[in-house]
Symmetry: C3
Subunit: 308 residues, 3 copies
């Protein structure tokens, strides 16, 4: 039972709590209308100190689909932050009005400070490097729903593995399950940080390999998680030209993939997945966006202690 808690870090939930949450999300997916009024009379505050339409609307839709209401702001300009108020004071005031809050903040740790300053549940909707636990929950729910399990599969993580927090969180989360094999696909300069390699993968004796080209490993993967590689991240132009096509998923590369592989992406994408893939049944990134809403519905219910 998560009632009254906050969710700040992806690893804030035990395996059991996570399981309970994903089970609830699964039930909502099966019969959403049964949950259409469970949060009637409850208010979600979306406190977005920097804009993120996708994340904000996912939270808002989740609350509205539970019959609750939403209020808040979508950029720091329209908040009291300009008047020099502390995050702690803001959240204490918001707690007078709302029942639960989702916060995105450019400063790392702000949602944590908020959570510690109030009894109202606070959900981290992204801070600093844009760590946000609900993206990881979304990824887990998507894999579990589409693959039927969270263990015993090979996942390829492709793109910028150095700066991509989404990827780091997902590796940590999946490393708690049995027999997950990681294939880490990135240019040399964008490999996963040492602390992930040593502290998570090697320490826990998890099977993984690091490769430079996506096309060479396509046929091994049960799940392919794509992220963007920005040109600015490369050390030199030559490397970029040599490698850039390796990190763009197209029909050609999909030919060698398993027939039941699924392709995920946290969105928004720019060009790292060719739109020709969109109609491939293995393309699951828009389903993933939908699951993002469902897992937030489950999360809001759990943190509010609302039951059907």
């Amino acid at each position: 039972m998560l009632k009254g808690r906050s969710l700040i870090e992806p690893m804030d939930l035990s395996l059991e709590e996570l399981d309970e949450l994903l089970n609830l999300a699964g039930k909502i997916i099966e019969n959403p209308s049964a949950y259409a009024d469970v949060c009637k009379g409850k208010i979600l505050a979306t406190l977005f100190y920097e804009p993120s339409t996708r994340t904000r609307l996912s939270f808002e839709a989740a609350m509205l689909r539970l019959g609750g209401s939403v209020m808040g702001f979508s950029s720091a300009d329209s908040s009291s932050a300009a008047k020099g108020e502390s995050v702690a004071d803001t959240i204490r005031t918001i707690a007078c009005y709302a029942d639960i809050a989702a916060m995105r903040h450019p400063k790392e740790g702000a949602p944590m400070v908020a959570a510690m300053s109030t009894d109202m549940p606070v959900i981290n909707g992204g801070d600093g490097g844009h760590q946000h636990p609900t993206q990881t929950l979304t990824d887990l729910l998507t894999i579990r729903t589409l693959k039927g399990r969270l263990d015993n599969f090979t996942i390829g993580l492709c793109g910028d593995l150095k700066f991509g927090r989404t990827v780091h969180s997902l590796i940590k989360a999946l490393s708690r399950y049995d027999n997950i094999k990681f294939v880490l696909i990135s240019p040399e300069e964008l490999r996963i940080p040492d602390y992930i390699r040593e502290e998570i993968l090697i320490k826990n004796k998890i099977e993984f390999k690091e490769v430079e080209r996506l096309e060479n490993v396509m046929d091994e993967l049960d799940v392919l998680y794509m992220t963007r590689v920005q040109k600015e991240r490369f050390f030199n132009e030559a490397d970029y030209i040599r490698l850039k096509d390796s990190y763009i998923l197209d029909s050609e590369k999909m030919k060698s993939a398993k027939s039941d592989m699924i392709v995920l992406h946290p969105l928004p994408r720019v060009n790292e997945i060719s739109t020709e893939i969109d109609s491939d049944p293995r393309a699951a990134y828009f389903k993933q966006a939908k699951y993002g809403m469902f897992v937030r519905m489950a999360l809001i219910m759990e943190l509010l202690g609302v039951e059907i």
Copy 2:
């Protein structure tokens, strides 16, 4: 039945479909409380890539008055557009969260692209030159309600007839009905474009005349549709000074108008209608704003396939 369709161009509806829509709007006007819950559990996304308070709030009020919910953004700053996401991807994501969307976009064609990228109904809330079909629907509902018919009348269109898309759409829409006579009142340099004159009016043998001064034709009109004439549109200062008062509606001009003439304006107005007219029973522009909400209620119901 419009269920599942989008509305991008004012002429997207057949006369029969339009009739059905206006009939429904008429029923809502008579008994709004009967429709207060028909969209319970449905979500409208208002995707405004450029601000338009009036249009956005009209859509939002329409959905709220049907018992539905609303979410979205009111300027591009707070949207994901800044991250380089395509309109197609944005709408596919929004379709995971919402049931219907109203989109305003500075780029002509964007709502069309959006509509083609999703099964969710998309309503064009204005693109590029601010063509938006719900303004035309508003105008039609207003005339039909206040005059009792959409045929057999003389309508004066006054102001900037060259750049005013609202006027172009209204001419096209009304030209489908019997015995509408158009009186086109504008300075020489702001006359209706040739394609409207040739392709719509002359081709369909519709009676019309073009005049320069409003005061000369007031007594002929059943409906007067005012729009603003911006000083910058005139070719020379002398013309502007000579004509500007002709395009300002005041009590003096109203004296020669029929007692049951109605004055419409898409709003916002600046000074083209003197506020002294506001209390004249023939001034119908605020009623028109109200009908704008009612026609959007009907439209949302039709596109969602919701019935009472």
Copy 3:
């Protein structure tokens, strides 16, 4: 009965009307769930021409907690104001969509103009010098609820008493009750304006004194109302250095206060109340924020003429 009226100035309500309003707020506090649906189907428009998250969200939460809906804008950028529309025209249009409006506007008198232009109730959410009657109502409800009465007590008002409209409004409001004694604590250059001293206090033979140091009068107070003193307001640096600590409330000063004194602050605070006070049971400023929502619930109900 306030049905159909607007609230522009704090003194717009008679003592009887105020009493009725505060009584209703009291009932809502006792049993909020009894009021959870009374505004179902009603729409509040929040028209914020300048940002004020706290005030806006307080209004929105109030309406949502009554079962109503909310729409609006949170800064002038996303409003039609940019197109040169008058406040009168805007409010007439909004009145087509909404049932009641809360307006904040940088120009003094704008909410008054709005109220005079429509039959829809308009609540002043702050104009110009940020006079807003709902802050005064909040202060009154807080004192009445926590002290059990609005007469027979000593209130200290501390900080910038010259420019702080909140303080002026509260003095005027409390001067209508019996046996209120005012202790006015401020630096010489920030004393209350003459018109408050002469027209309100002296004219009505109300007991008051003006002092420079908070620490000297702490033990006399039943209520302490803190406001911020900005450095820029001082005439000279020496005065600022000599006095600044006098206007910061800390644990040390609280030692000499009565055990049942309450500390109020309109928020946001910067450093004028040390956070070490927050856990002191006499610190009532976050309760005050909560009462602000309750009094707005009562106000919306009264102006809409909604009954339980």
